[in-house]
Each structure stands twice: as structure tokens, then as C-alpha cells.
């Protein structure tokens, strides 16, 4: 039981960490807690669902579609909305929340509030003494971890990655030395959108697709961002896995009704005692 919940926690935590990674990059560079990623999560999940269910696309193709779509939506949001209000954080935050509201409600309008079941793409699983893991869950973990490595390498090894690191430390100074901030912004938003889309498509087959599906993953990944501290890729991963494990175990041993409330307690505790997050800056 304990081992089973631990593994479930790690898997859901990896998905939170994936969304949080994009949110973290966006927040640390543009100072926007980008709630609209919650909306992108919903829209990409629906599109992938229809791609698999109606058009019979293979799962991998729908995953790639979701990544491209997520990146595209996030790019447009940054380019046409957030960019108008550079330096006016309040308006950007309000706009982000309005977009989250808009995208989730668009899902209700376009596809009704009825819950949709994402077809299973990889039946079966491993069953050992004490726990069982479906292949789909292993895919969630494997894809999340490889994307983490990919983003880490991108940030550490490429020229754009270097620019992103510079901008997250000091925007003005980065601009002064000739870094193109607007392309840095576009890049982080596209990474964020792609990661949200991926997380949505990875998670949907485990749970289901419905218009408010983005609420809890969004809130929890925001907690993970705060937990992990800005600009720390490792912090996000540890924060995500940690929150996933706390939720899974707490749901069994403390209270299943408040399973989704633990994130709030964790957030309050961290903000009270570590206002800069658990890991701070890299």
C-alpha cells in the first residue's frame, strides 16, 4: 500500500513538475505567474482526445500535436497580450487569470461539460509484490524525466539557453549586453506551452478529459514553482515529486477528502518559513 502510493505520487508529481518547469521559466523571466497555462492544458487535452478518438491518430502523434498547439497558443498570448504591458505586472496577472477563465470556459462551450474518457494507448502493466504500475504511468514518468533533461540541456548548453539564464538573473543587464529579450520571452512561453500540452496529454488517459481538469494541476504546479524557487530546474523536479508524494500518502493516511488541499498547507508553510522557496536560485 505504502509503496503503491509512493509510486503513484512520484508519477503525478512528475507531471506537476513538467507544468511547473514551464511556469517557472516564464515567471522568473517575465514576472508573470502564467495562469493561462491552465487553459492551454485543457484545450490541448481536448484536441489530443479528438485526434485519438475521432481521427484515430496514434498517441505519439497526438502528443506532438499537443506540444505544437500548446507552444503556439502560449506564443500568441505572450506576443499579442502580455507584451503590451511589459513592466505592469498587475495587468499581466489579471490578463493571465482572464485567459485561464476564457480557455476553460471555451472548452465547456465547444465540447460541453461532459467528462470524456481518453482511450488507453498502452494496456497492461507491471505487477510486483505489493504494487502494480500500468505501462501508461511508466510512460508519464519516462517522458517527463526525458523532457526535464532536454530542457536542462537546452538551458545549459545552447546559446538561447544562455540568454534565458542571463535574462532570468537580470533583465535590464541582459538587454544592455545585446540579448534579444523579446525572443527570449517567446522562447520561454513556447517551452511553457509545449510542456503544459505534454503534461495534459500524458495525464488525460490516467484520469479523464473535462473542462475544469486544468484547475488543480495549475494550482499545484504554481505551488511547485514557489516550492522550487525561481530559476532552479532541479528544485522544480524535487518540488514536484515531493508534492506528488505528500498528496498521495496524505490522501491515504490523513484524509482523502482533503487530498487536494495539502498543496495549500505546503504553500503556506513554505511561504512562512522559506519566502524564497526551498532551493532558491541555481
Amino acid at each position: 500500500m505504502f509503496l503503491q502510493q509512493l509510486i503513484n505520487g512520484i508519477i503525478i508529481g512528475a507531471a506537476y513538475a513538467l507544468i511547473a518547469l514551464g511556469l517557472n521559466l516564464i515567471w522568473s523571466i517575465t514576472d508573470i505567474p502564467d495562469f493561462s497555462q491552465g487553459g492551454i492544458y485543457v484545450i490541448t487535452a481536448y484536441v489530443a482526445y479528438f485526434a485519438v478518438k475521432m481521427a484515430n491518430f496514434p498517441f505519439v502523434v497526438s502528443l506532438l500535436m499537443a506540444m505544437v498547439l500548446g507552444a503556439g497558443i502560449a506564443f500568441c498570448i505572450e506576443r499579442f497580450l502580455y507584451r503590451r504591458w511589459t513592466g505592469r505586472g498587475r495587468i499581466q496577472l489579471l490578463c493571465a487569470i482572464a485567459l485561464f477563465f476564457l480557455l476553460s470556459n471555451m472548452a465547456i462551450l465547444l465540447w460541453t461539460a461532459k467528462t470524456k474518457i481518453f482511450p488507453s494507448y498502452l494496456p497492461g502493466g507491471i505487477s510486483l509484490v505489493g504494487f502494480a504500475v500500468s505501462y501508461q504511468r511508466i510512460v508519464v514518468l519516462a517522458v517527463s524525466l526525458s523532457l526535464f533533461v532536454a530542457v536542462y540541456l537546452f538551458i545549459m548548453r545552447t546559446k538561447m539557453g544562455k540568454a534565458i539564464r542571463a535574462a532570468s538573473q537580470d533583465r535590464e543587464a541582459a538587454e544592455v549586453v545585446g540579448i534579444n529579450i523579446s525572443s527570449v520571452n517567446s522562447a520561454v512561453f513556447m517551452i511553457g506551452g509545449a510542456l503544459s500540452g505534454t503534461a495534459a496529454v500524458l495525464i488525460s488517459p490516467l484520469y479523464s478529459v473535462f473542462p475544469t481538469m486544468g484547475d488543480l494541476p495549475l494550482l499545484k504546479s504554481l505551488v511547485v514553482v514557489i516550492l522550487g524557487g525561481f530559476g532552479s530546474v532541479a528544485g522544480v523536479l524535487i518540488g514536484g515529486l515531493g508534492l506528488g508524494i505528500v498528496e498521495s500518502l496524505g490522501g491515504v493516511y490523513i484524509s482523502s477528502a482533503y487530498q487536494h488541499g495539502f498543496a495549500f498547507f505546503v504553500l503556506i508553510l513554505v511561504l512562512l518559513f522559506f519566502p524564497k522557496g526551498l532551493f532558491g536560485r541555481v
Partner: protein, 325 residues
């Protein structure tokens, strides 16, 4: 020089008389509504008044003092449930439960606001968003206390006194209207008092007002808690007016609607958010035939307000006036 000063003074005097006349007309119309219109219209106006009090009290925190918050609906919900439970399970009279629920929410907000308002940047805004969602989960899941998703029924109406009963729609309308007038007048005097000036100074430049000796942390928590307390009282009225409560009434959509109304009207003007609440309630009501469109239109409207005039209707008005000169 003195001529223009005199002219300005006269202009101010004229503006004040004009505002007083508008206020008097609005009050007379509000008092006549249940007498001359249908029950349905009265009901909609009650909703508009409730939204207006919520939005006005929200403006005290976010508009006048500065911090952006997204949990006003939660305070409204806590007030509603506290009052309903005090009367249903505690057997108290409404007239006792009403102030208690307000004080309870005030203290609750102070407990949240004291650690929360020290946070810089968007941390507090995100925390309040969470807090709102968390309270919804608490109301939804504490089945033994709140009856969970089944909701609370048979909440008693306020007890009558001096021959006035509050069981009819009209008498409840007048009670909510009078509470609304008192609440708005209180907010008006508060924001125009010395405290109001301190709050505005915190909004404009927190470091500076700290430097001149203002205990900014105290005033921020105070404004946050007063705003919340008024929302709690409004929740209590709502509970005893509709006499049934459901957790979804206090989900994050409610907090979101308060933010939208305040922005449509214009933050930091008090009158703007109240007008905004009226307009938004009216249009929401007119759009009852297409419920799935309502929130989409409002989120688009919010983005449009942010693009066109982030100061809302009041900003638009002052821009038009400024253009005329």
C-alpha cells in the same frame, strides 16, 4: 490667479450639488423598485446590491490599498456558512449570528493577511487564489458540518421586530438595500478619512510611506480584513435571504466575478466598482438564455477592458471629460 481659484471652487460646489442630486434620485429609485416593478426585477436588483457591496468592499483592499487578491468570494462564503450554521445548529437569532459572522470573517482574514501580506510581488495574489479554492474544498468536503454538495436548506429568515417581518421579498429587499447603503457610506467615509489617505499612500509607494513612519503592514492587514468582514456580513444576508446555500456559489468563479466587476467599473474609485457590479449583474441576467456564453463574454470583456482602459469605466469617463476641455 485668485479668479481661477474662485472658479474652481464654484465648479467643485456645482459638481457636489450635481452628485448629491444624482445620489438622491438613485436612492429614491432604489426605494421604489419593489413597489413599481415585478418580483423578478426586485430579485435581480437584490443580487445587484449584493454584488455591489462585495465589489465595493473588494475595492478597499485592491483598489485603495494595492494588493491584488482573488479570494473575496471565499470570505463571502465563510460569512454565509458561518451565519447559516450559527442559526441552524447553534440556535442563535439572525441578529446575533449576523455580526458574529462578520467579526469571524474579519479575524479570519487578519490571520491569513498577517503572514500573507508580507510577501512581495505576485506571491500574495497566487496565495489568495489558492486560499479561495481551499475554502471551497473545505465547504464541499466538511459534509457533517456543511452538508457538502447537498447544501444547506431551511435557513431561517431574520426574525421580525417592531411588527416588521422579513419573510416577504419586499421587506428583505429593504433590509439588504439599507445594509448596502450603510456599507457603501461606511466605505466612502473610510476611504476619504485619514486612514483612507494612508491606504492610498501605501498603494502609491509602500517604501516611501514606510519611511515616513506609517506601519504599512498593519494598515494593509486592516484594509484586507475590513473588506473581508463586509463580504462576510454580505454572505450572512445572502444566506438568510435565499435560505439555501450551495458550495458552488462560493467557488472561484465568484471571486473572479468580483474582480471583473471591479475592473469594469474602475479600481480605486469606490463608485466605479459599484456601477460595474450593477452593469455586470444586469447583463449576466439578460444572458440567462445562453449560460455557457456568459463567462466567455466576461473574460473577453475583462481582457478588452485591460487593453482599452485598465482604469475601467471611471477611467473612460475621466478621459472623455479631460478630452472635452
Amino acid at each position: 490667479m485668485s479668479d481661477t481659484a474662485l472658479e474652481n471652487k464654484q465648479k467643485q460646489k456645482r459638481a457636489r450639488t450635481r452628485n448629491l442630486i444624482i445620489l438622491a434620485v438613485v436612492l429614491v429609485v432604489m426605494f421604489l423598485i419593489p413597489q413599481v416593478t415585478s418580483e423578478y426585477v426586485t430579485y435581480v436588483v437584490v443580487l445587484a446590491i449584493i454584488w455591489a457591496i462585495l465589489t465595493g468592499s473588494y475595492d478597499l483592499t485592491t483598489g485603495y490599498t494595492g494588493p491584488l487578491t482573488f479570494c473575496h468570494g471565499a470570505f463571502y462564503g465563510i460569512g454565509a456558512y458561518a451565519s447559516a450554521l450559527l442559526t441552524l445548529k447553534g440556535g442563535l437569532s439572525f441578529w446575533v449570528a449576523f455580526p458574529i459572522s462578520g467579526i469571524l470573517v474579519f479575524l479570519f482574514a487578519a490571520i491569513i493577511g498577517y503572514p500573507g501580506l508580507r510577501l512581495k510581488g505576485h506571491y500574495f495574489a497566487v496565495t489568495t487564489f489558492f486560499f479561495g479554492h481551499f475554502m471551497y474544498l473545505v465547504i464541499l468536503n466538511s459534509v457533517s458540518l456543511t452538508n457538502g454538495p447537498m447544501g444547506l436548506r431551511n435557513i431561517p429568515p431574520p426574525e421580525g421586530f417592531l411588527g416588521i417581518t422579513f419573510t416577504s421579498l419586499n421587506s428583505s429587499y429593504y433590509m439588504i438595500l439599507i445594509f448596502g447603503i450603510i456599507a457603501v457610506a461606511f466605505l466612502y467615509f473610510l476611504v476619504n478619512s485619514g486612514i483612507g489617505k494612508i491606504l492610498i499612500s501605501i498603494r502609491e509607494n509602500e517604501e516611501l510611506s514606510q519611511a515616513i513612519g506609517v506601519n504599512t503592514a498593519f494598515y494593509k492587514v486592516l484594509a484586507f480584513s475590513i473588506g473581508a468582514g463586509i463580504a462576510g456580513l454580505t454572505g450572512s444576508l445572502f444566506a438568510h435571504f435565499f435560505r439555501l446555500l450551495h458550495p458552488t456559489t462560493f467557488a472561484w468563479m465568484t471571486s473572479e466575478m468580483v474582480v471583473i466587476m471591479a475592473l469594469v467599473g474602475g479600481l480605486g474609485t469606490l463608485i466605479g466598482p459599484i456601477i460595474g457590479a450593477g452593469i455586470v449583474t444586469l447583463i449576466l441576467e439578460l444572458m440567462r438564455f445562453a449560460p455557457e456564453f456568459r463567462f466567455i463574454i466576461w473574460s473577453v470583456a475583462l481582457i478588452a477592458v485591460l487593453i482599452v482602459e485598465p482604469r475601467g469605466l471611471m477611467g473612460l469617463v475621466s478621459r472623455i471629460r479631460g478630452g472635452k476641455k
